[in-house]
């Protein structure tokens, strides 16, 4: 762990922060009266006339970091709240840097103890809950916020981030479940507030991913007064986010519009990120370097569910930033780059492979496809070979995806771009393999089980158009090896339930990195995670053994070697057929400066600027 803050020490004393509100208002004055440049750079930050208009394709839930669990709520939370750590804006692969912490944690005790020092002089944005007092961010706030994740009353969807990790925390949650009251005042050995600014986290066993967890927005700091003032019966504060981040919620029309404005109490920082290998980075650095951040005073987020609406709104100039979802790509993209028309308009593209993996799994406990006997392995491998990922990318994904060769997608620590899977699309071999293991064809042309019983695969999918395309892909694949297939259609909620109960037979799932470490992916087949994240319900002793070894060592060549073997086990035993990783294509209007989509961070508004001179159109 040699990551260091690449950010300069932030300017401005607490005193100057305190006057931040007037600073915002003064910005116009600054420009108008041409005060001394130095003064302006020192004080001028968010310009309320600089507006970024963003779009979400689905409704947000609310802005309680512990309670909301959708991506879009998280995106807004990241702008309002602050975690201890965050990622460097430009560094690729993603690199952790301190945010509310003064530096990266001191890790001791063989990865069992993490010590954070919260930067003094960070203040929550003013709120009635503070009764007019300025409220500084302290270590206790993080201890409180982390406890909230396991409070049974809040039923946080993020409890798993901390469960089974921090000494004493699980016991506290269990006690709360019994008593019905969560004791936030309890002193935990695992969550020790050493002094006003120091938090020490002690773990039950070594965990090298904790830093990532603490960069994940559910672990953002919320103030206890705010929670106590606004909490609903479920102990959640969905509508009154009060944080220390660069923005605050100005107006909110639920599931329609979210308006953010610069937080007057925000301390600000000077833009000083290092360009990476991407040639675009140089331009971004040139556009942004040295600016006092945040520049953008207001963020307007619209929720538009329909693809066409989003794209037309963007093309009409009603949006500044837009994530281009797969089906729309061919309208504005030409393979990997923007179409001529879009380029002519000056629209920019930020494109990379998402840290995401789609995989097709078989339920390893299912009597038809599950199990580790040779004939079952042969069946699964034949199916895996029958599937044509290339065609999926071409037809279903419109070319906006790459084939996943390795269970860890690009952009995630542990990914090996050189690794090549041994599973190839090869229906001939698949048929031969089935023939060999006695899956004979019946009189109707469909294969039967070796014991002569009928063989029907049940593929589960969601009732949307992607689900339908996946059905068709698998139908074609299984037709090519003469295996009969049925589709199990259900609402997502229902599928998820059946999946968690190991009652599906086969489904295509995807996993997006919560944090950019390979473990987030490799844990998906660990047998202890059955009923949780191990959708394939797989128990492969060899895999388990390797996995248990892997979590005991930090990322590095040693772990990579284990991961390689585990990848090969996945290919060999075929609980999964690896699918694809999608490209993320972020469309950027020319007036937006310094934008680059970060693979892990959700919101980048605090790192960008808007050209208000109008030349960008």
């Amino acid at each position: 762990m040699s990551l260091r803050a690449s950010r300069r020490k932030l300017p401005g004393s607490p005193r100057s922060s305190r006057r931040n509100a007037s600073r915002v208002m003064r910005s116009a004055l600054c420009a108008a009266t041409l005060l001394a440049l130095a003064v302006c750079v020192e004080v001028v930050a968010a310009d309320m006339n600089k507006v970024v208009r963003h779009v979400f394709p689905a409704a947000e839930e609310g802005f309680d970091p512990a309670a909301a669990h959708d991506l879009y709520s998280g995106t807004v939370e990241q702008a309002i709240f602050e975690t201890l750590l965050t990622y460097d804006y430009l560094a690729r692969p993603s690199k952790l840097v301190p945010l509310a912490a003064q530096s990266l944690p001191e890790v001791s005790d063989g990865g069992r103890s993490y010590t954070f020092r919260v930067r003094p002089g960070i203040y929550f944005s003013p709120d009635a809950a503070f009764k007019g007092k300025k409220r500084e961010l302290v270590a206790e706030d993080y201890a409180f916020s982390l406890k909230r994740l396991v409070d049974p009353k809040i039923r946080s969807p993020w409890a798993w981030l901390l469960e089974g990790k921090i000494i004493g925390l699980d016991e506290l949650a269990a006690a709360a479940k019994k008593s019905g009251k969560f004791d936030y005042d309890a002193r935990l050995p695992g969550l020790e507030v050493v002094d006003r600014y120091t938090l020490r986290i002690r773990l039950k066993q070594p965990d090298y991913d904790l830093s990532y967890v603490l960069a994940h927005e559910p672990t953002s700091a919320v103030a206890r007064e705010v929670v106590e003032t606004y909490a609903d019966v479920g102990g959640r504060v969905m509508a009154n986010p009060v944080g220390t981040g660069p923005y605050r919620l100005a107006n909110w029309i639920r599931s329609s519009k979210i308006f953010l404005e610069a937080n007057p109490e925000y301390r600000g920082f000077t833009w000083n990120f290092k360009a990476g290998s991407d040639p675009e980075d140089a331009r971004i650095v040139a556009e942004m370097k040295g600016k006092m951040m945040p520049q953008v005073g207001r963020v307007e987020i619209s929720i538009m569910e329909e693809d066409q609406s989003r794209l037309l709104a963007f093309q009409n100039g009603e949006l500044d930033l837009m994530n281009l979802e797969g089906p729309l790509a061919p309208m504005v993209m030409n393979g990997a780059s923007l179409s001529g028309e879009m380029r002519k308009k000056g629209v920019k593209l930020s494109r990379f492979v998402d840290p995401e993996l789609s995989y097709h799994y078989w339920n390893m406990t299912d009597p038809v496809v599950g199990g580790l006997s040779k004939e079952k392995i042969a069946l699964r491998r034949a199916m895996a070979m029958a599937y044509d990922v290339d065609e999926e990318i071409r037809i279903v994904r419109n070319g906006q995806a790459i084939e996943a060769q390795y269970p860890i997608p690009p952009g995630v620590v542990g990914n090996d771009p050189a690794y090549r899977s041994s599973v190839k699309h090869d229906a001939t071999s698949a048929n031969a393999l089935l023939d060999r293991f006695g899956y004979k064809k019946g009189p109707d042309g469909w294969r039967t089980l070796p014991d002569g019983k009928p063989l029907v695969l049940r593929y589960a999918s969601r009732p949307d158009s992607l689900g339908r395309q996946q059905d068709e892909m698998w139908k074609k694949a299984l037709d090519s090896i003469s295996i009969r297939m049925e589709v199990q259609k259900d609402k997502f909620t229902e599928l998820l339930k059946l999946e968690k109960q190991c009652r599906l037979q086969m489904r295509t799932a995807s996993w997006i990195a919560d944090y950019p470490d390979g473990d987030n992916f490799m844990q998906l087949l660990y047998s202890k995670n059955i009923f949780q994240s191990n959708n394939a319900c797989a128990t492969i002793p060899e895999y388990d053994k390797l996995y248990e070894q892997s979590i005991r060592i930090p990322a590095g060549p040693e772990r990579d070697r284990l991961y390689h073997e585990m990848a090969r086990i996945i290919e060999t035993y075929a609980p999964w057929r690896l699918g694809i990783s999608r490209y993320r294509n972020m469309l950027i209007q020319p007036r937006v400066l310094g934008y680059k989509k970060h693979p892990i961070l959700h919101s980048e508004w605090q790192y960008i600027d808007v050209d208000t001179t109008g030349k960008g159109g």
Binding site: A59, E163, M238, A239, K257, L312, N316, F492, K497, N529
Partner: protein
């Protein structure tokens, strides 16, 4: 009159009970279990159990039913499972935008379809009549989705007459700027079926004896259509329009989604996607009550139009 209204309200009770029972049956009993979604990406059985307890779905069915009945009686459906937004707040905030679009639409569509129906019925049997009817039939066979996609693309994007989407805080702006294209689309979609229906209503009336009497009095054909026939034909039209209103609240979901209108329809689809039962159940019950109330209103309006109607 008041006795009638009271009796009608009284009669709504069994219907409402039926709605409650059916809604409960469909959603609580067989409607699936959202606990796994709410639990997040990685969850333990214990967490699922905790969530189910928090939501109350681990209770015996009769207890859940009783809770639901109490919710309906107190009109307090609690809060959304996924956003914790009070359901009452959802209803009050989403209703405005829905109505901003629907009320002008309903008024316009009724007037336009009625006018056209009278005109077409006047020339019944002619080539114009047949041509209009065939165009209507063809128009009917095209999905609303196609209308929305094409109109948004052409009128909002290519021609730029309207914004592609959006909604503001100002009622006037919403109505004039953001609402107009959705209203136009709804109009275009509904004119064909309404015109066909209203035409039969008008034709029904044209064959009545009183039309012959009016003619024998020397009343002009125009006056016959616009005064004598219209008033009579408006009776079935009122029923039709009033019966439409509650369903439209939800039926307009496609338009609301495409044009980013924060209305009820969009909320329902969202709630269905999220399996957010408190919201679905509340909206269903509210719409059911609205349906009943609107039926009553239609009957009362009948009375205003048709003196023959005796409200007993």
């Amino acid at each position: 009159m008041y006795g009638y209204i009271i009796r009608r309200l009284w009669q709504m009770i069994p219907t409402l009970l039926g709605v409650i029972l059916l809604v409960f049956l469909l959603f609580n009993w067989v409607g699936g279990d959202p606990a796994y979604v709410l639990a997040g990406k990685i969850s333990s059985a214990e967490q699922i159990e905790n969530i189910r307890r928090q939501l109350g779905v681990d209770q015996p069915y009769y207890v859940q039913l009783w809770i639901f009945v109490k919710q309906v009686l107190t009109a307090d459906f609690g809060a959304s499972w996924s956003t914790n937004e009070p359901v009452s707040h959802i209803m009050t905030t989403r209703l405005g935008p829905s109505l901003t679009v629907l009320i002008p639409y309903l008024i316009l569509s009724t007037l336009v379809a009625m006018g056209l129906a009278l005109a077409v019925a006047y020339v019944r049997g002619s080539l114009t009549d047949r041509a209009v009817m065939i165009v209507c039939t063809v128009g009917l066979s095209i999905s609303i989705l196609v209308y929305i996609i094409v109109f948004q693309y052409v009128f909002a994007y290519k021609l730029g007459w309207f914004p592609v989407q959006g909604w503001s805080d100002s009622f006037g702006q919403n109505l004039v700027v953001y609402g107009s294209l959705p209203i136009i689309i709804l109009l275009v979609v509904s004119i064909a079926p309404d015109l066909r229906l209203f035409r039969t209503f008008v034709l029904d009336e044209i064959n009545h004896d009183y039309v012959r009497t009016a003619r024998a009095k020397g009343v002009s054909e125009n006056r016959i259509m616009w005064v004598h026939v219209l008033r009579n034909a408006s009776i079935p039209i009122i029923t039709h329009v009033m019966a439409q209103v509650p369903g439209l609240l939800i039926g307009a979901f496609l338009v609301e989604r495409f044009f980013s209108i924060p209305g009820i329809g969009r909320e329902v689809i969202l709630a269905v996607e999220r399996s957010d039962f408190p919201v679905i159940k509340a909206i269903t019950v509210y719409v059911a009550v609205a349906t009943m109330v609107f039926t009553l209103l239609a009957d009362l309006m009948y009375k205003a139009v048709d003196p023959r109607v005796q409200l007993k």
